[in-house]
Symmetry: C2
Subunit: 197 residues, 2 copies
């Protein structure tokens, strides 16, 4: 099991955004690419992945690889899945998720509640360029990674993450876009720490 928690602080929490301007919709272009980077391989879905997109610390859209259908690699159609989820925001009551398309669900949870909801078995780490070199870390059996969007985590979110894990890992000397960081993190796990090809 692998989990990705992607913090979109400026992401929309309502469906009124234009698919023609995803960068202008709280960088939904980047968040959509994070979803596809986490869940898709060439001609297939990673069925052992669950991705949590935390939108504006108010809602989380969850993508479950083992039941996911209709996820295509492009930004626009992925953003449309997110919009479809947000169209049902009024049905998301308490912390009960609403399945809005196969394998996609919306839940009224911010970052803290989303982190609380992770299965306790996963090794949670934050991906950040100031962390421990990932090549020095032993790949866990169940990994959960927390990433932020194009901005660094705000102090409040950083404190919430710190409350859930003291582990920060770095993927390299250059700060990467979140979707590329996900691709590298997957590769690290796929190869058991850049070892098994």
């Amino acid at each position: 099991m692998r989990e990705f928690i992607i913090v979109g602080r400026n992401a929309p929490t309502a469906p009124e955004f234009a698919l023609d301007d995803l960068p202008g919709a709280g960088r939904l272009d980047l968040l959509a690419r994070c979803v596809t980077a986490s869940l898709l391989v060439s001609h297939g879905i990673r069925d052992d992945v669950r991705t949590h997109l935390v939108l504006g610390d108010a809602f989380t859209v969850r993508f479950d690889g083992d039941s996911l259908q209709g996820l295509n690699p492009d930004e626009r159609s992925t953003a449309a899945l997110i919009r479809t989820a947000l169209e049902r925001r009024d049905e998301a009551i308490g912390h009960v998720p609403v399945e809005t398309s196969p394998g996609v669900s919306l839940v009224r949870m911010g970052l803290e509640t989303t982190l609380d909801s992770l299965t306790g078995e996963s090794t949670v780490s934050r991906l950040h360029e100031d962390g421990t070199p990932i090549a020095e870390v032993r790949p866990p059996e169940k990994a959960a990674f927390v990433l932020s969007d194009h901005t660094d985590l705000c102090p409040e979110d950083a404190a919430v993450v710190k409350g859930h894990t003291g582990l920060t890992v770095s993927l390299g000397p250059r700060p990467l876009h979140a979707d590329h960081a996900i691709a590298v993190a997957h590769n690290w796990l796929d190869t058991s720490g850049f070892d098994a090809y």
Copy 2:
């Protein structure tokens, strides 16, 4: 210097395509992501990268990191840069490139001529899951990677690539989308072979 040669066999060679349907335009969504994966880091451009997008074996759009301007991370605006380049296809005569926006040029070259045009100093390798594990390869000072789009290279293109390099490297046990493969290849070079963080 790093170069990426991305073979888009079904990519458009004329500007008449819709930005609203990039997957339907010869998978221009994927090709656009390859461009951004090769050239962008968080809040910056990789100025040591040149990316060659080979469209339908007829035209190549070249992105030069050291002079590139106006490249944003999203698919749609990147595809618009490619469309702008193709709008000037009639001006691309012989093998003389036409600069169509800062750092972006169009040249009437297919795969073979594009590979011929590489500076002879680069170590050219094909990225493919059947290759030598990349962790066993020493990162070259100047690397050029050849990748195909969502399909494997056709036999003709594979033969052309084979005529330019005998080196095929694998990034891991799972076949990746081309843009994710680029992110991993960059990380391998950034970290001097998963060594320097």
